[in-house]
């Protein structure tokens, strides 16, 4: 086994690797990340994950539920560190996997991947406790500066792939299923199908539990915002006549070979300084997260039930309303924005007519929240139109350099909002705590020396 594979094995066992090895790993990771653009292009199929916050055992549960690397492609939307007890092990494992399988693992930056935030919210303390010095923290922070700010997922299908995890009793995904929610064992909890006009129809009585009014009680899913049918086109007029995203419509969309429209992944949300995805590409990201400005906003903002922009109670970033998202998605030919950054008790929450979704992957957050976690699977479009390149550099990428950067931003595509890609959410709970060994030593904090 290579050193890297050894490190992966050790980290999977939740044991930190030696400082020298961390240094080497971070160096390699930086070389890799420096070649990536601010907005990484990723091809479906991909599994999108939200905040981890050092909940290592729950990250292992996530891999169990979502499939292991490299069998499953993953995109993690930041906030690997802080608050949890195993930020170090969690981040280093993800980084090892990134270096080992660069095409199968995408990591983007969260607001916690920052020197200042980690000194306040725990990761710094954790590194000092585990290594006795801040060196490892410094190596990790140097990597943080090179993480991409966002990702564009291309080639996501508007039909779901068969649910390979599902038990024999589970139903096959129906042809027109837009949203499917599964539990940790792959059993389908509910399905939402497409209807003309992009609205969803509830197929499954179980799914009624997903309605926001009932989610608090069963804690399974938060799909299908109740305002879903209040579409953009006014009076609920269907914007398309054909199958959503197929291009078979009466309007002028569907001009590019990207059946479902691209999905933008970013940790926080939008910025008043960014109206086009291309503007993200122009930022100089290789620095500490600033207190304000576009880079800060992408990592700190939150969607909210307001019009336009609002001040964020966080003291950084902004609140943005449905109108902002819809205009942005339209202008950038996006079908969906996937973001993390906010706890949702049901693991995921679609808002604003499914134009944006929050994915949260830290179950029972901070050991007390009682929330479930989720991951979002986008399946590969098999229509043959989805062969698209990555633009995040060609280094070590088997499919790198296929074609040129795609024009994902079709300014003149004036059709209504694109329908979202088919989405499978897998919802899971905190890992059992059975056999976690207690540390033998109790280090003494400075105050108590």
């Amino acid at each position: 086994m290579s050193d890297l594979d050894n490190a992966i094995a050790q980290l999977r066992a939740c044991r930190p690797i030696p400082e020298a090895q961390v240094r080497e790993l971070c160096h390699k990771a930086r070389e890799l990340l420096i070649e990536e653009g601010n907005v990484v292009t990723v091809n479906a199929p991909v599994t999108i994950c939200g905040d981890i916050h050092g909940q290592f055992h729950d990250l292992m549960e996530l891999f169990r539920v979502g499939g292991d690397v490299p069998d499953t492609n993953y995109l993690f939307m930041g906030d690997f560190v802080d608050r949890g007890f195993y930020s170090l092990e969690s981040f280093l494992l993800l980084l090892c996997l990134k270096v080992r399988y660069p095409d199968r693992m995408t990591l983007i930056r969260g607001n916690h991947e920052s020197r200042q935030i980690t000194t306040v919210y725990g990761f710094y303390d954790e590194c000092l406790r585990k290594y006795g010095s801040a060196n490892v923290w410094r190596y990790c922070c140097d990597v943080f500066d090179y993480l991409a700010l966002g990702a564009i997922v291309l080639g996501a299908s508007n039909t779901l792939s068969p649910n390979s995890e599902a038990g024999s009793a589970a139903r096959e995904a129906e042809e027109d299923t837009e949203i499917e929610v599964c539990n940790a064992d792959g059993d389908i909890m509910s399905q939402f199908s497409r209807q003309e006009g992009g609205a969803s129809r509830l197929l499954d009585p179980v799914g009624s539990a997903l309605r926001p009014s009932a989610t608090a009680t069963n804690g399974i899913g938060g799909a299908a915002d109740s305002s879903r049918n209040s579409g953009l086109g006014g009076a609920g007029a269907p914007s398309k006549t054909g199958s959503p995203g197929s291009g078979a419509s009466g309007s002028s969309d569907g001009t590019v070979g990207n059946p479902a429209g691209a999905v933008l992944c970013v940790h926080g949300g939008l910025s008043p300084l960014i109206d086009m995805v291309d503007k993200i590409r122009l930022l100089d990201r290789k620095q500490e997260v600033p207190h304000e400005g576009a880079m800060c906003d992408l990592l700190w903002s939150d969607p909210d039930e307001i019009d336009g922009w609002g001040l964020s109670p966080r003291g950084a970033g902004f609140l943005f309303g449905a109108d902002i998202v819809k205009v942005f998605n339209h202008r950038n030919d996006l079908s969906l924005i996937a973001r993390a950054h906010q706890l949702v008790m049901e693991g995921f929450k679609e808002m604003f007519d499914a134009s944006i979704v929050t994915v949260w992957s830290a179950p029972n957050y901070c050991y007390r929240c009682g929330n479930v976690a989720a991951l979002l699977e986008l399946s590969e479009d098999s229509s043959g139109l989805g062969i698209l390149s990555r633009t995040n550099g060609d280094v070590n990428r088997s499919d790198g350099g296929v074609g040129g950067p795609r024009g994902v931003l079709m300014e003149n595509d004036l059709a209504g909002l694109r329908s979202g890609p088919a989405r499978r959410y897998r919802v899971f709970q905190a890992a059992p705590q059975d056999s976690r060994g207690m540390p033998a030593k109790k280090p003494v904090a400075d105050y108590f020396l």
């Binding site: 802080d82 608050r83 916690h112 020197r115 200042q116 935030i117 000194t119 919210y121 725990g122 000092l128 406790r129 006795g132 801040a134 009014s213 989610t215 608090a216 910025s271 008043p272 300084l273 960014i274 503007k279 122009l282 930022l283 990201r285 620095q287 600033p290 207190h291 400005g293 576009a294 880079m295 039930e305 307001i306 019009d307 336009g308 922009w309 609002g310 001040l311 964020s312 109670p313 003291g315 950084a316 902004f318 609140l319 906010q342 706890l343 008790m345 029972n364 901070c366 050991y367 007390r368 905190a430 976690r436 109790k442 280090p443 003494v444 904090a445 400075d446 105050y447 108590f448 020396l449």
Partner: protein, 526 residues
């Protein structure tokens, strides 16, 4: 452990105590005119914290907390006891020692009237929960019905304070108002400038029950309630509680902690559970506790080595037969001490709300449970930690308002504050290890200088490093350059026509403003 509460030997012993040699918060003379001020926020920027650390308010908070702390330390018998008189069942080590378990101060005829009044007031406040039941509907985390609860409290606070507090407090110094020098000249000022005791009491009292806007509760709120009690102390509310003749020394302070603060914590815990209040600025597992600090100070004091009335607070050692600190790490064992000790009461609450291994979800408390030098050591560390992690942190103290009782004015005797280190990105291991020799008020004064000149000392001792507040240098020092690709400066709205009154609302129910453990920018000012 079951230490005897008060062994018979000391119950009747009331030898003339020596004059107290430990600082106590001043009790104002009601015959001297006093000018009250409506408390206002003064800490607006990171550097203001350094100014706060030299203020009279900071000094008074320190004196008051240390005074309360010392009162809980078990007491040795005032004079040697005849061992032959030791009753059966009382161990030699505890013979004549007086301890102060929590539950002995909550009820009963021994509880003095002023404390009973405050307990009744807390009961009344707690009962408001029944009028504002938690909203059963969908929500993210914090329950918006807490806003209803808080609004009802705000509406009733004046009536409550008037109902439960005596006239000599509410009208303190008011009769002689005209005689305040200079007051005549300012007689033409608007009514807003006329402040009374109620204005100061109200500000700290309301500040003690969480944030309605953010649906959170943290150590800043806890501090505010302690300041409320400090105001009452200064106004002489507690001074008549015991007649001088039969008053055990420091009994008043013990009544305040065990008879008022502990019941207050119980009310707050119920609020947290009822409305799922977010820990203000949670550090996750890397904070001492999600919400509280006081019970760890006072609870460790309850279990320290006994002292005489003239000895300073011990810095090591435990009460004989006290549960060892390691008890904390085992939920079942810890639970058995909840009723009698504030530290274990706090641990019990953590175990109520958190799942998972204790050492994982509360590693700092777990580490502290390994301390070998006893509860005295823990108590000393808690006080240093409180000073550094609560009183010296901008996000916590920025909300603390200043009036006449907790004054922003400089304390002429304050230690020269070391200039805060403007290290936005390089946390500095605390210099606490470089301990100075201790005087009577040493832990506090020493801790004051913690982020001090030795800050460059990069100690590599294992343990929890408590980093310098990165925002202490203020925004300018911490903010790297704006991204070159974006427009410079904060542009709030891309299209001014989109600006509506609602545009800048601070969030609506179900938004980021009341999420559990939502990350706030350390430089956020709200």
């Amino acid at each position: 452990m079951e230490p005897p509460k008060t062994s018979p030997a000391t119950a009747t012993t009331s030898a003339a105590p020596p004059p107290p040699t430990f600082p106590k918060l001043e009790i104002l003379d009601p015959s001297t005119p006093h000018r009250f001020l409506r408390p206002v926020k003064r800490i607006n920027e990171g550097p203001d914290v350094a100014r706060f650390l030299t203020s009279q308010a900071y000094r008074d908070i320190g004196i008051f907390v240390l005074q309360l702390n010392r009162s809980l330390c078990p007491r040795k018998p005032p004079h040697p006891l005849d061992a032959s008189c030791r009753p059966p069942g009382i161990s030699k080590a505890l013979y004549g020692v007086t301890t102060f378990p929590t539950n002995s101060y909550l009820h009963g005829s021994a509880v003095p009237e002023p404390v009973v009044k405050l307990q009744r007031m807390l009961d009344t406040i707690e009962a408001i929960i029944d009028e504002a039941p938690p909203d059963p509907g969908p929500r993210r985390f914090g329950n918006a019905s807490f806003r209803t609860w808080h609004r009802l409290l705000e509406e009733r606070v004046d009536a409550l304070l008037r109902q439960f507090l005596p006239a000599h407090v509410l009208e303190f110094g008011q009769t002689d108002r005209d005689e305040i020098p200079g007051d005549q000249d300012e007689g033409t000022e608007t009514e807003e400038s006329e402040a009374g005791p109620l204005d100061e009491l109200r500000a700290y009292f309301l500040g003690g029950f969480g944030s309605a806007q953010r649906l959170d509760y943290g150590t800043g709120h806890e501090l505010s309630f302690v300041a409320f009690l400090g105001c009452l102390w200064k106004l002489g509310y507690f001074k008549e509680m015991f007649s001088a003749a039969d008053r055990p020394l420091d009994e008043t302070e013990r009544c305040i902690v065990l008879g008022v603060i502990e019941p207050y914590l119980k009310v707050v815990r119920r609020l947290i559970l009822t409305y799922t209040l977010e820990p203000a600025g949670s550090h996750g597992v890397w904070g001492l506790d999600d919400h509280f600090f006081m019970p760890y100070i006072f609870g460790s004091a309850q279990l320290t080595r006994p002292i005489t009335e003239t000895e300073p607070m011990p810095v090591e050692g435990s009460l004989p037969y006290a549960p060892p600190p390691s008890t904390v790490a085992t939920a079942a064992k810890a639970d058995s001490h909840r009723a009698e000790n504030m530290y274990f009461s706090a641990i019990g609450f953590i175990n109520d709300v958190k799942t998972g291994p204790f050492w994982e979800h509360s590693p700092i408390l777990f580490d502290i449970s390994g301390i070998k030098d006893g509860w005295g050591k823990i108590n000393k560390g808690m006080i240093k930690m409180y000073n550094a992690e609560v009183l010296s942190k901008f996000p916590v103290v920025q909300h603390f308002p200043f009036g006449s009782l907790f004054a922003w004015d400089a304390d002429p005797n304050a230690a020269v504050p070391t200039t805060s280190v403007h290290m936005a990105n390089q946390p500095i291991a605390s210099a606490a290890a470089a301990a100075a020799p201790m005087g009577t008020s040493a832990p506090w004064a020493q801790a004051t200088r913690m982020p001090g000149a030795a800050a460059g000392n990069t100690t590599t001792t294992p343990g929890i490093p408590y980093s310098q507040a990165p925002w202490a240098g203020g925004r300018s020092s911490a903010g790297p350059a704006l991204p070159r690709g974006g427009a410079p400066g904060p542009v709030l709205v891309s299209d001014p026509s989109q600006m509506t009154p609602a545009t800048f609302s601070r969030g609506t129910p179900g938004t980021a403003s009341h999420q559990f453990a939502v990350t706030k920018a350390p430089w956020a000012k709200d």
